[in-house]
Assembly symmetry: C2
Homo-oligomer: 174 residues x 2
């Protein structure tokens, strides 16, 4: 079954970036190999993120990111850059349409507001959350205040040196 997957790293206090958007704490995290990234990436068929996240990703590389997968960027105002597909569609209808169009799991990259919208509409089927061994004390939270209260089901954990990958699925109504 196709599904929407959140795959992301956070500090132990639940931040995905410092207040100034910096990721130095994440880049210096001591992992192991590629921390399972290639295995994950090989299984996904398209990529969705918010525009702010996309702009941050662009800053981190000279090449267009994720060139071998269709990239969708959620934005109410931006019209596109000739590379990514910009859309102002609501995230839940977008995710359904990508399931049909590309026939495989969608990677929801972030950031917090996109994730919040996904959780509001129960659109995330799987969660891979890499917990980094540090407390930031400030920053941009993975789950912003007001995120829908959500029970998950733990299916697996994996340790990559100093990184703990927590793997959850959506809890089915019982």
């Amino acid at each position: 079954m196709s599904k929407n997957i959140l795959y992301i790293a956070m500090s132990l206090d639940g931040m995905i970036a410092k207040e100034d958007h910096s990721l130095d704490w994440l880049l210096k995290a001591e992992g192991e190999g590629d921390n399972g990234y290639n295995d994950f990436y090989s299984g996904i068929s398209s990529i969705v993120m918010g525009n702010r996240t996309y702009q941050e990703v662009l800053k981190m590389t000279n090449e267009k990111p994720y060139q071998d997968r269709p990239v969708y960027v959620l934005s109410r105002t931006e019209q596109g850059d000739g590379y990514a597909n910009f859309t102002s569609e609501s995230v839940d209808t977008l995710l359904s349409s990508l399931q049909e169009k590309h026939g495989g799991p969608v990677w929801v990259v972030g950031g917090g507001e996109v994730i919040k919208a996904c959780m509001d509409s129960d659109s995330i089927d799987e969660y891979y959350i890499a917990v980094i061994s540090c407390v930031l004390g400030e920053g941009i939270p993975l789950f912003p205040k007001g995120t829908k209260c959500t029970e998950l089901k733990l299916v697996d954990t994996e340790v990559y040196n100093q990184i703990v990958m927590l793997h959850y699925v959506k809890k089915q109504a019982e």
Copy 2:
């Protein structure tokens, strides 16, 4: 070596209680056996917590909590209840004195403000953080905003059904 240990549960988004202090999400967490609690508890020699946490703990039981260990409650105003030892000492000097007095690890129970003060003074030597499989979306954070940015060293993880126990130690300066 004696040490100060934080042993606590949090939601995946880093909350130790809901906004109204309720712990229903924690009490219904599906663990395994006692989730390692008795093993941990048998190794500690005294217990420290903030007064708000102490008052919440009192509400949860008809008996005085932790009767077989000396209990210390940090409060600037309270004078004691004939059971716990109330003190307005700063948490770092209190923890050092308990190490000497009781000669074994101190359990720092919480809450957030006490933990923040401990981290400000680098007083926590070990962290056991039980991650519960739910996102609350609001509540009282384990690491309040402004907690000192702190790198930790992961030493172990343990899975108890739906609870992941993350075990860290203080990262030594290199």
